[in-house]
Amino acid sequence: MPDLSTASGLVAALNEGNRRALARVISHIENNDALAQPLLAALYPQAGAAHLIGVTGAPGTGKSTLVNGMALAFRQQGLTVGIVAVDPTSPFSGGALLGDRVRMRDLAGDPGIFIRSMATRGSLGGLAQTTADVVMTLDAAGFARVIIETVGVGQSEVEIASTAHTTIVVEAPGLGDEVQAIKAGILEIADIFAVNKADREGADRTVMALQMMLALGGTGHQQILHHGRMLPVDLPPAPPADGWTPPIHKTVATQNQGIAALVEAIEAHRGYLQHSGLRQTRDRLRAATELRMILRDLLLQRTLAAIPAADIAALVHAVAAREIDPYSAAQRLVARTTS
């Protein structure tokens, strides 16, 4: 029996294909416990070969069913598939109901597939804070394709675009008119559109609205501010004019219609990223974003550790009483740790 209580034992077992070790590693990383960092350090150099596919869209558009179909199609090509399905944590109880597996029952019993459900645990961007690390773990474990399903997002949760290589935005008929389609946000991050439930009335109108939006031209945005954190998140650069135009695919996931074409589009986008050099650019952007976020957390911890809690509490009190503004207060704290 392998020793699953140490980082080295877990990594050795994971590399031998021990699925329980893989599941345990993911838990350690998700819980950010004492083993998390040694595990990440050991696995990081092993990762990088997988193609990472993000699937996002409003609740009820059929993301889970689509992921189920895509995974089956990849398996038919002999490719192994890791799936990370994210669902929201209740802000009140801290609990979560993770129900994406209900739609993925076709994938049961296949050793070439590994599905992990994750709760957002307070994160708002459609992913959990540790999702990227869990995805990296599946990558390091040797899965050729890793599909990341976000929570059913609204319009501004675009974090997935800085995690995945290929982002699929799932739409369904009847969710909104053309004006929704030209609003900024989630539609701009799509590498591929899937109009799911295409057997329903209005599917052609949805396709047309997306086509119109695309015909109006892409945007030059390359950086966004991460929700409420004042933290820039790099997005992939807008493709050159002769580059990639997001294709729109009609699918009926429950009947496995249009899935093969969708998977072909993913592979085409993968090829495009590779020979255009964009894959390297995206990986570098992701590394920069990741490093910046980790650095921010570390510096925050260090600052908070270096200053007596009572002093911070006194400043909080002063800010609440409007004796000082929060920006000056923060600067005062930073000055104390650097002087």
């Binding site: 699925r19 329980r20 599941a23 345990r24 993911i26 838990s27 819980n31 950010n32 416990d33 944590t89 209740s90 009140f92 109880s93 801290g94 609990g95 979560a96 109901l97 993770l98 129900g99 597996r101 209900v102 029952r105 049961a108 019993g109 590994f114 599905i115 992990r116 459900s117 709760a119 645990r121």
Partner: protein
Amino acid sequence: MDRKIRILVAKPGLDGHDRGAKVVARALRDAGFEVIYTGIRQTPDMIAEAALQEDVDVVGLSILSGAHMALVPKVREALTTAGLEDVPLLLGGIVPDEDIPVLHQMGVRGVFGPGTPTGVIVDFIHNELREPL
């Protein structure tokens, strides 16, 4: 460290009455657990596979068909084959009193019949996971 208790809620067998499982799943969510809900008609192997991949702390079964004496040993065996012999197994549903001691012998840690307040299940899970300390 944000350790969360993870629990799999599954319905093995052929009965499609998942109301109870959903009520319990929701109560566990409201108690702060992460509940992985897999839905109806799960085979013992599917349950063991999900429990392994999701690295759950507890597996909860809901059986209302009366087939618990046939299904529970199969689920227990599938869990053991997957290396999950140490994961506590709970059972909810319609279970005659005389079956309960036998189910305990099969390795079921707790049996919860109709009308059990959900708080009892929550407390039981907390106690169950505290024990090995």
